[in-house]
Amino acid sequence: MSLADASDATLVVAIGRWRQDALAEAYRRHAGAAFALARRLLVDRQLAEEVLQEVFLRLWNQPERFDPERGSLRSFLLALTHGRSVDLLRSETSRRRREEREARETAEHGTDIEREVIDLTVAEQVQEVVAGLPVDERKAIELAYFGGHTYRQVAVMLDQPEGTVKSRIRSGLRKMRTSMVEAGVSVSWAEG
């Protein structure tokens, strides 16, 4: 069996044994998704590349952090990518860049986060799931996930109580999961 045919879980075992070709295969499978997310959040290509490099080095150095019983390798890598990107986003340098970008976007066509999210989601079914969320929940999730804002910041932006925002985000994520499972969208950790 070649590595190209190996499951993600098997790849991570091989990575745990210092097999660089296994890391290369994981990179081949998932780097594009991680890079797309990093670029979406950071915009700056160089910063996104740095994040991508860091994410795969973390997989190399700490493969035991990935638990296949708790989710897919892709969601694990995307969570790492998101977390690191948000850290950078909240740093001063990138905040300045982001503010400049947002000012430019607003000047050019206005910001339409909802539309952007819906356009960017990978599958029609997922789009439907996102679209099916109550507007308040969807907005809160979008601002947190794509904007890199804390829920306290989101509360200010939406002029809602903090407690309401955190509840809506949790509730929205739960509804999405239920809807995806019902719609047959493969959720790797789903019951069964």
């Binding site: 069996m1 070649s2 590595l3 499951s7 879980a9 098997t10 991570v12 075992v13 745990g16 044994r17 210092w18 097999r19 660089q20 890391l23 780097a31 998704a33 890079f35 797309a36 997310l37 670029r39 979406r40 290509r45 590349e49 991508l52 490099q53 080095l57 190399w60 150095n61 493969p63 035991e64 638990d67 296949p68 019983e69 708790r70 989710g71 897919s72 969601s75 694990f76 995307l78 969570a79 998101h82 977390g83 999210v117 960017l120 999730i141 947190a144 996930y145 794509f146 804390t150 829920y151 306290r152 989101v154 955190k166 509840s167 985000i169 949790r170 994520l173 999405m176 999961r177 950790w189």
Partner: protein, 272 residues
């Protein structure tokens, strides 16, 4: 130490935690709680899996980035070499025999392509000229901890399937490992990409403070390719390209840098 959260307080924050939408202090508090709460860990994973579907598809990764990553890998000292693992030699644990994947010395793995230590090793092997199990100067990297920390993703059916497929693969090279008496007690197989598997259910179980160690035989010195634990069922390893056969020795738990023991079983490719 940060503040401690009750389960219900932590649970309310799990969604925003999974989206990295917490301040540092709250994040720490959630992590502290979740580290001891399986339910919260599970919910965080579920939220993250959902969030992954929101991610914006695919963008080709930058050209050349993989090469930069690969170069960095070789500069990173293996974390296992650091003496920071008070958590006990796993090889001595009774559970070790269950592990289907052997702790393998990365000799012969692709990381050796540009690795200076590996080149030095190759040179060392070339100049050495002593008998089969004479004292070696090989550096054995103890990656037991790394392996033991991994969940056994490839356990059970998946791993067994993999081994069976390898054993049945017509492109694989197989070798019976036998005692001096000729009794075959183990079998090794190497796929064209160098991935190897060894099975040895007929080998007697060793005491907990002993382990089987697998060696690749070549033109020069045997190369350690895996410390298998006191009972061998099946295990994976990485075979050096020039492996002409394999041998199993019985060693002290954790394995040895060089073996002075006679092999328990041995076999060479192409020798009946």
């Amino acid at each position: 130490m940060g503040r401690r959260l009750s389960h219900s307080d932590a649970a309310e924050l799990l969604g925003v935690y999974a989206l990295d939408a917490l301040d540092a202090d709250e994040r720490e508090a959630v992590e502290s709680h979740a580290s001891e709460c399986g339910a919260c860990q599970a919910e965080i994973s579920q939220h993250r899996e959902v969030a992954a579907f929101l991610a914006p598809g695919w963008t080709p990764a930058p050209e050349g980035l993989w090469d930069r990553i690969a170069e960095t890998l070789e500069e990173i000292p293996p974390p296992l070499a650091m003496p920071s693992a008070p958590s006990a030699p796993a090889a001595a644990a009774p559970a070790a025999p269950e592990t289907p994947v052997a702790p393998v010395v990365p000799i012969g793995s692709l990381r050796s392509r540009r690795s200076r230590p590996m080149a030095a090793f190759a040179a060392m092997v070339a100049v050495a000229a002593v008998s089969l199990f004479a004292v070696l100067g090989l550096k054995v990297v103890d990656d037991n901890r790394r392996i033991d920390q991994l969940k056994e993703q490839a356990t059970g059916t998946e791993f067994e399937r993999t081994v069976k497929a390898a054993m049945a693969d017509p492109s694989a090279r197989r070798v019976n490992l036998q005692r001096v008496s000729g009794v075959v007690e183990a079998e090794a197989v190497v796929l064209p990409d160098g991935t190897g598997y060894v099975t040895g259910a007929r080998l007697p179980e060793l005491p907990p403070d002993r382990t089987y160690q697998l060696w690749a035989l070549g033109d020069a010195e045997p190369i350690s390719v895996g410390v298998l634990g006191p009972k061998v069922t099946s295990a994976g390893f990485r075979a050096p390209p020039n492996a002409a056969g394999f041998a199993l020795t019985a060693e002290k738990a954790g394995g040895v840098v060089a073996s002075a023991n006679e092999p328990v079983v041995v076999g060479k490719f192409g020798v009946a």
